[in-house]
């Protein structure tokens, strides 16, 4: 049962110490995401039971999304439905644990869907097969039928959370730039999607060049840079109404690379005056601004610590792009990146313990993570052009953009675990770049 083999060490050639997954020995069903590498936990999720007429299709689809979520983490492996011995035909019937043990499904998820008067109810239970007990308690979610994917994600978040002890990230959205057209005529528009690429909605038309949207902490607002006026300027968009306005707009002055403070009231961004780019903060309510850096070099890509007390940013004051941390009010900054190459686009993790970044070295781009003091640097990816990491709400997964080389090159979104494992492309209808992962809903 416990096969903790270093079979994936090859993937971790850059890793100093890679968090991994360990199946706890004996005791209750549990994955601990710690050091080491592993065998994913086998589980079964038979079709949910359709309890009312017409709910059967939805019941099947919901079970499939739950499976996609769990298997997609790389921490779980689904036992194929063809191998199932028992069929779950009633949500209330006793589970035949021996049948699930026989196919080595360590966890079993059962569920049912009913539909009535334009509302659906999804209920589920998680079972520890080898212990012969329920893990946690049965739960149910209710909503409109068009929200079925969200309900499936909520089920999967519960399962993930009960088995790993950490919060999930499936019921979350990502705002990004959707790209179409060739490299020298690329059209870009803002879009938002579920974390898995489903339910894409466009937030702007393709007329004005738009860059680097960033969600607010509660996911209700998006900051981005738009060339609508001819100059790059920071805009803020209300996701609910899809209304946007210029946040920072002095004529003839470029502002870009915005990001919200955790309080949702303060915005940090870069402002270019003459040849010099510095970091500023603005109170979104009063419009009052404050200059946080004052150096002749390029200071950009600011990102707050989750407690709002510090800002990590990039600067080329040393001659090349490196990462620095300063108090949120500005003042003296300390350099935290010292490895080979150039470091950029730092983003503080939601847990506060790490900083993700882009690194350029020897003609390659990497996404990496380091401790907030710059120690334990670990590169997770390598390609012709990887850039712009953003953290999953639980701080376990990073999404970023990868651009392929050459005249036909295009950009796509990928996710990777902070262990460097489980690199996956996120399916989007068109090219995609500049992802910003929103909160767990």
């Amino acid at each position: 049962m416990k096969q903790i083999v270093a079979s994936l060490l090859a993937v971790l050639v850059w890793a100093v110490s890679a968090p991994g997954v360990v199946l706890a020995q004996g005791g209750p069903l549990r994955i601990e995401i710690t050091e080491g590498v592993v065998e994913p936990l086998p589980y079964a999720v038979p079709d949910f039971v359709g309890e009312t007429a017409g709910a059967q299709d939805l019941a099947q689809q919901i079970a499939r999304v739950v499976a996609d979520d769990l298997t997609g983490t790389g921490l779980f492996r689904e036992v194929p439905r063809e191998a199932h011995i028992s069929q779950i035909t009633s949500f209330g019937s006793p589970v035949q644990f021996a049948d699930w043990k026989a196919i080595n499904a360590q966890a079993l998820i059962t569920g049912a869907v009913s539909s009535e008067a334009g509302r659906i109810v999804v209920k589920f239970r998680v079972w520890d097969v080898f212990a012969g007990t329920e893990l946690g308690q049965g739960m149910q979610f209710a909503g409109t039928p068009d929200g079925w994917r969200r309900m499936a994600h909520k089920v999967a978040d519960q399962v993930y959370s009960r088995i790993t002890g950490e919060s999930g990230y499936f019921d979350s959205r990502v705002v990004f730039v959707s790209e179409s057209g060739p490299k020298d005529q690329r059209a870009k528009r803002l879009a938002v999607m579920d974390y898995d690429g489903a339910n894409v909605q466009y937030l702007t038309g393709g007329n004005a060049l738009v860059l680097a949207p960033r969600f607010s902490e509660n996911g209700q607002r998006v900051l981005y840079t738009s060339y609508e006026t001819g100059m790059p300027r920071v805009h803020v968009l209300e996701v609910g109404t899809v209304q946007s306005r210029i946040l920072q707009g002095q004529d003839g002055v470029m502002s870009f690379a915005p990001r919200f403070a955790p309080n949702g009231q303060t915005v940090v961004y870069s402002l270019t005056q003459g040849s010099n780019t510095d970091i500023w903060a603005m109170d979104i309510g009063s419009g009052g601004t404050r200059q946080l850096t004052n150096a002749p070099s390029i200071e950009t890509a600011p990102s707050y610590s989750p407690d709002g007390s510090q800002i990590v940013f990039e600067s080329d004051r040393s001659g090349t792009q490196q990462l620095y941390v300063m108090p949120a009010s500005g003042g003296e900054a300390r350099r935290i990146s010292f490895g080979q190459g150039r470091y950029s686009t730092p983003v503080w993790s939601p847990r506060g313990d790490m900083i993700a970044f882009t690194k350029q070295n020897a003609g390659r781009f990497h996404i990496g993570v380091m401790r907030t003091d710059g120690s334990e640097e670990r590169l997770l990816t390598a390609s012709f052009l990887d850039e712009g990491p953003t953290w999953a709400p639980n701080g376990r997964v990073i999404m970023f953009a990868r651009e392929t080389q050459g005249a036909q090159g295009s950009s796509s979104l990928y996710t990777v675990d902070i262990s460097g494992r489980n690199l996956k492309r996120v399916r989007t209808p068109e090219g995609a770049s500049d992802p910003s992962w929103g909160p767990l809903q």
């Binding site: 060049l209 860059l211 870069s270 040849s275 850039e387």
Partner: protein
Amino acid sequence: MRLTAKLTMLMAVLAVSACTNANRFDNDAVDLNAATGSAGGILHGSASDPSSPAYFQQTVGDRVLFAVDQSSLSPEARATLDGQAQWLLTNSDYNAVIEGHADEQGTRAYNLALGARRANAVMEYLIGQGIPSSRLRFVSYGKERPIEICSDESCYSKNRRAVTIISAGLTG
């Protein structure tokens, strides 16, 4: 004469990359010959009128190129900008917007700031040559608007540019 200067400048920039790939250098030399050939066909339409924006673009030269991650002006770039300044002094009805650009080898925000440095270097130079700052402004597109789309130095060297766009000067 100016074409010669331009060619020399391009060669100088390319020579930086040539040490990593000698064949690429040869390929670029061919490209440059082609470019020289097309620039030979300027005596058509408004481009033959020395006071036209088309003349500025094609004959004076509307762009200067930069080395990797640099915004300093080479002697060849200065020569081109001397010509731009002369043209702008003569044709005082026109204003100019200087667009700064970077190649794709860099992150998005940094390249925006780098493009601004390049455009501003051009603007400062033109101001130094006597062009009123009220007639000039700049914008950076970072790596968002490449003109060449391959992923090697032959394209990158042309994308690391500042382009002076002539506009009617009604608003001053």
